[in-house]
Every structure is written in structure tokens, then in C-alpha cells.
Amino acid sequence: MEDKLRGKVIVLGNNIDTDQIYPGRFLELVNPEEVGSHCLAGVDENIAKNFRKGDVIVAGTNFGCGSSREHAPISLLNMGASCVIADSFARIFFRNSINLGLPLIVCKGISSRLNDGDEIEVSIKEGTVTLVSSGEVLNGEKIGEYAMKILNAGGIKPLFRAKMKEQQ
């Protein structure tokens, strides 16, 4: 996984739930591109349409609350989001995202500091967010050791495959 990311942000509010990230009416879809094209449709249908690969989702508290549907992080990944930074995340969404290799950074207060279109640089390892325009650095939380191990392996699947091979 690349440690340094650079992109523009889209800023969302508090309690963005999995139905807003990926509405129930699209749950039957399996094609990754199609899934990505409906990302955040519960907030605004145009977000996925106008999203540029590598851009970053910024949100308030409890991002990803609600359902255990893995379609939520899958749609963010397929839309091209490089990471999500929020004041806090819901538990199942956090696990699902790390498992799939989507980095999440907890950075308290970030949603009130940034506006749509701001450019930031992120260090996943350090959990820092640098505002490109001013050079100001916001310190988020470092990702836990176990989660970092999963991200570095490219998600839980390659890690699990290696573990099973070892056991054989």
C-alpha cells in the first residue's frame, strides 16, 4: 500500500449510514464498476458520476453506521476513493473496509476543518492530514498494528491465504 496519498476532498456530515453509502435497491448488483457507480447515491446521485479516482471522502462522526453490507466499502473502492477520513467510524464498516484494503483514518474534528474541493496529502502510516494550500498538519489517530498489517498485505484475503498455506 502507498503510504502517501494526495487528492481533493468531498465533505459529508455525521451518521452517514450504509444505506446512504450504498442504498438497498442496488444490493443485487455484483459487477464492481456498476456497484461503484451508485456509491453515495443515498446522499447525492451525482457524487459517483463526478468522482475523480484518488479523491478522498471526509465525514463527521459515526461514518458507516447501520448495516453490515460489504457493498458500502466495495462501492467506495470501485468509485476510486483512496481513503476515508472521519471524526469516527462505525464498527462493522471499519472492519469491512480494512479487510478489503480501504484505509480509514480517524481524525477528530476533520469534517469542520475542510471544504469540498480542498486538496490534502495523507500519510496512512502516520495518520496525518496536510492541507496543501496552507501546509497545516492535522494529526489523526494512527491505524492499529493489526489493521495496518491487513492493509499492508492488500486486505485480509491475501493475508489469510498466506496463513492457511503456512498451516498446511
Partner: protein, 424 residues
């Protein structure tokens, strides 16, 4: 240690576990619902061949039962084939009902068990003194191969509830009230232990309602010390011997919240957040298009009985539709035997196959733009039941039934006691 910690310790082969520690625990029972064909794909991507234990994994078809589209039919088809290939002992097809109702009925949930399912409302099983938690498809695929999952030992908070509720006030009102106080992110990553005199006397269905909604506070799991009513239920059904874990007297909770519900009135969560909770009497009269009684929160026999008691001998309002979906076939049979479904049908209700489709707009009862639904289900997120421009209010089954009669959000206590609206 707390009972939850003892469950985690026992299943991970340890004597002691501490908050924050990562443990790998054996899973007593795992369940996959029909939104999660992805588990099979992930299972294969991780070189899975056969599931780790064919008696400890079930598929439940509840979100798309019976299949409403060709795509969902294909999902069912591939999952059925996998269940057959692996010779799964428990496979609940379109004739069974909602996973969190079906599993306890089948004796698969009992005190001390770790239960993991691909559904966030798996916290429901804390009602039985089990540790239930929801995961996504990839975590589930690793369980299907190895029978284990890693857990961070959670902080445990106490929600103590004392008092006896007034007539017409249901467990759903109690938990909506708690939602309004604790808030949607009040227990993120934490485990909730429900205690107090209200919980000690609460029956199995009521316990399930409270534990079910714990995830709406962000909780990883919920717990209630099993009482005699729980033991009577599981002793009749459990497929394996079990051990009830008890919290040590010297255990210290990370937080305590105390409530007395003696004066509580019927509650409602107004759009678009589960914690946006008011007394029904505080909310301005709103016109409603659809009423829904069903799901893993509000579709049990007690819920449909509460509705039938209000609907019996009356007709629902002309401009409203009422959908009643029993949570399982067992519930449906019980409600038929006791005449509750006939009461609902006579009043004008539409009854559907046991399942949870309308709750998340997967199947049946989807809302058009501008429509309003009052529902006994558990989420009112924007667009949850259909159009982003629809509105969902969460309430008890009694409130939903009273609302169906008047066409307006209605306090069932007022309806019963004062006949405020002279219906029929």
C-alpha cells in the same frame, strides 16, 4: 470478569482477557443471509474448499424471500448449490423467516455461545446470554474456512432499566427512548449489558427487541443475564449443551446509564435518524401512507397480537395501507392459530411471506417519493424503505396499528382509553 469476557476467554482458550486485547475465538454458530452471495466468492478467493463444520453454519433466505427479481433468484440459486455441496445441516430457504427469529427457534442460539452473522442486528442474541455480533462478507468467509474470528475485547457499558411500564407501552418504546438518550454513536465499539428490574422480569421477545436495537447505538454486542424465561425457552430447543456465564461481583463497567421507565409514554423516532426520538404525543399530526409491522425487531407473535388487539373489529383508514409480515413461519402459524392474522386481514391488512424485505427496500412495500411510513422495524435512514424523498417513522407495533386506524401518527394509549377518534 464480565460474562461477555468469560465467553470470549473460553472460546479463545484463555483464562483471562482484558479490554483492548485482540483474541482469536472459536465461533459456535455462523449465519449468512441472502444479501451475501459475496461470502461464497470470498470463500473461494481464499482457497476455501469445504466449510469448517457443516453443523455450525446456516444460510437463511430472508431479505429476498421469495425472490422478487431474476438477479435475486440467481443469488438464491448459487447459495442453495453451495449449501448442498457442503451438505449444510441447517439451511433455511424462502419458507422460514427472518434469521434472528429463525435461529433461536431452531435451538441454535443458547447462553454462552458466540454467534456471528452477516447482519448487523446479530446483537439480538444477547437476549439469550449469547455473544452475538455482525460482520461483513470477508470476515464471514474466513469463519467459513477456519471456524474462528479475531475480536478486540470491548469496553462494557451498563444500561440499567428499572420500573414497570404502563399498559400500551411496549419494549420497542423503551428501546426507542434509550436510543434518544444514548444516541446513534453512543456505544460504538462497546458492548452493552442491559440490567435492572425491568430486564430481570422481561420475557424473551421483549429482550430480543432491546438487544436488536443495541447496534443502532453502535454497539458491537449486547448482553442480558439469562432469566428463567430464557432458560425455559432454550432448554426446550437448544441443539447442544450450554453453560451460562455470570459476571463477577467485582466487575467495574466503563460507563453506567440509569433509567426508570415507569412514566414512559409511546415513543417515535422521526426522520431521518434512529436517535431523533420524541413521545408520540409531542409530534405534530402527520399524515401517513403506509404502516408496516414486521422484521427482526417488530414481527414476533407478541407484536402481531398487540396490533390485532387494536385492530380487532375495526377497519384501517381509507387512505392507508397496512403490511403485516410475521418474522417466521412458526410466528405465522401461532398468529393464525390464535386468530391474530385474521383480525389484521379483516381490518384491511396485507399479509406477506415471513421475511424482512420492506425494512431495507429489498422486497415488498417500497415507498414512492413523498410517501410517509410508520414502521415497527428498526431504521429510518434516508431512503431506507425506498425513495430518498420518502419519510420513515419508527414506533411500536401498537403505535403502528393505531396509526393504521386513524391515518395519522397515533398514540395507542389515547386510542384505547379515550376513543379520541371514533373509528367505524
Amino acid at each position: 470478569m464480565h460474562a461477555i469476557e468469560k465467553i470470549l476467554a473460553k472460546n479463545s482458550g484463555k483464562n483471562v482477557v482484558k479490554t483492548g486485547e485482540i483474541v482469536t475465538a472459536k465461533i459456535d454458530f455462523a449465519e449468512v443471509n441472502d444479501l451475501y452471495l459475496q461470502t461464497i466468492y470470498s470463500f473461494r478467493e481464499m482457497n476455501g474448499k469445504k466449510v469448517w463444520d457443516k453443523e455450525r453454519l446456516a444460510f437463511v433466505f430472508d431479505h429476498y424471500a421469495p425472490a422478487p427479481t431474476i438477479k435475486s433468484a440467481q443469488i438464491h440459486k448459487e447459495m442453495r448449490e453451495f449449501a448442498n455441496e457442503n451438505d449444510l445441516t441447517y439451511h433455511f430457504d424462502i419458507n422460514a423467516g427472518v434469521c434472528h427469529q429463525v435461529m433461536p427457534e431452531a435451538g441454535l442460539i443458547y447462553p454462552g455461545a458466540i454467534v456471528v452473522a452477516t447482519d448487523s442486528h446479530t446483537t439480538t442474541h444477547g437476549a439469550f446470554g449469547a455473544m452475538g455480533t455482525g460482520v461483513g462478507a470477508t470476515d464471514m468467509a474466513t469463519i467459513m474456512i477456519s471456524g474462528e474470528l479475531w475480536f478486540r475485547v470491548p469496553e462494557i457499558i451498563e444500561i440499567r432499566i428499572d420500573g414497570t411500564p404502563k399498559e400500551g407501552v411496549m419494549p420497542k418504546d423503551v428501546v426507542l427512548y434509550l436510543m434518544g438518550k444514548i444516541k446513534a454513536d453512543g456505544a460504538v465499539y462497546k458492548a452493552i449489558d442491559f440490567t435492572g428490574s425491568y430486564i430481570e422480569q422481561l420475557d424473551v421477545p421483549g429482550r430480543m427487541v432491546l438487544c436488536n436495537m443495541a447496534v443502532e447505538m453502535g454497539a458491537k454486542t449486547a448482553y442480558m443475564q439469562p432469566n428463567q424465561k430464557v432458560l425455559d425457552y432454550v432448554n426446550k430447543r437448544a441443539v447442544r449443551p450450554f453453560e451460562v456465564q455470570c459476571t463477577d461481583d467485582d466487575f467495574v463497567y466503563s460507563e453506567c446509564h440509569k433509567f426508570d421507565i415507569s412514566d414512559l409514554t409511546p415513543q417515535v423516532a422521526v426522520p431521518h435518524s434512529v436517535d431523533n426520538v420524541f413521545s408520540v404525543d409531542e409530534v405534530e399530526r402527520i399524515k401517513v401512507n403506509q404502516c408496516f409491522i414486521g422484521t427482526c425487531t417488530g414481527g414476533r407473535t407478541e407484536d402481531i397480537k398487540a396490533a390485532a388487539d387494536i385492530l380487532r373489529g375495526k377497519k384501517i383508514s381509507d387512505n392507508i395501507r397496512l403490511i403485516v409480515i410475521p418474522a417466521s413461519t412458526e410466528v405465522m402459524m401461532e398468529c393464525m392459530k390464535n386468530g391474530y392474522l385474521q383480525d389484521c386481514i379483516n381490518a384491511g391488512a396485507a399479509i406477506s411471506t415471513p421475511g424482512c424485505g420492506p425494512c431495507l427496500s429489498a422486497h415488498e412495500g417500497v415507498l414512492a417519493p413523498g410517501e410517509v411510513c410508520v414502521t415497527a422495524s428498526n431504521r429510518n435512514f434516508p431512503g431506507r424503505m425506498g425513495s430518498n424523498k420518502s419519510k420513515v417513522f419508527l414506533a411500536s407495533p401498537a403505535t403502528v396499528a393505531a396509526t393504521a386506524l386513524t391515518g395519522y401518527l397515533t398514540n395507542p394509549c389515547n386510542l384505547k382509553q379515550e376513543e379520541l377518534w371514533k373509528i367505524n
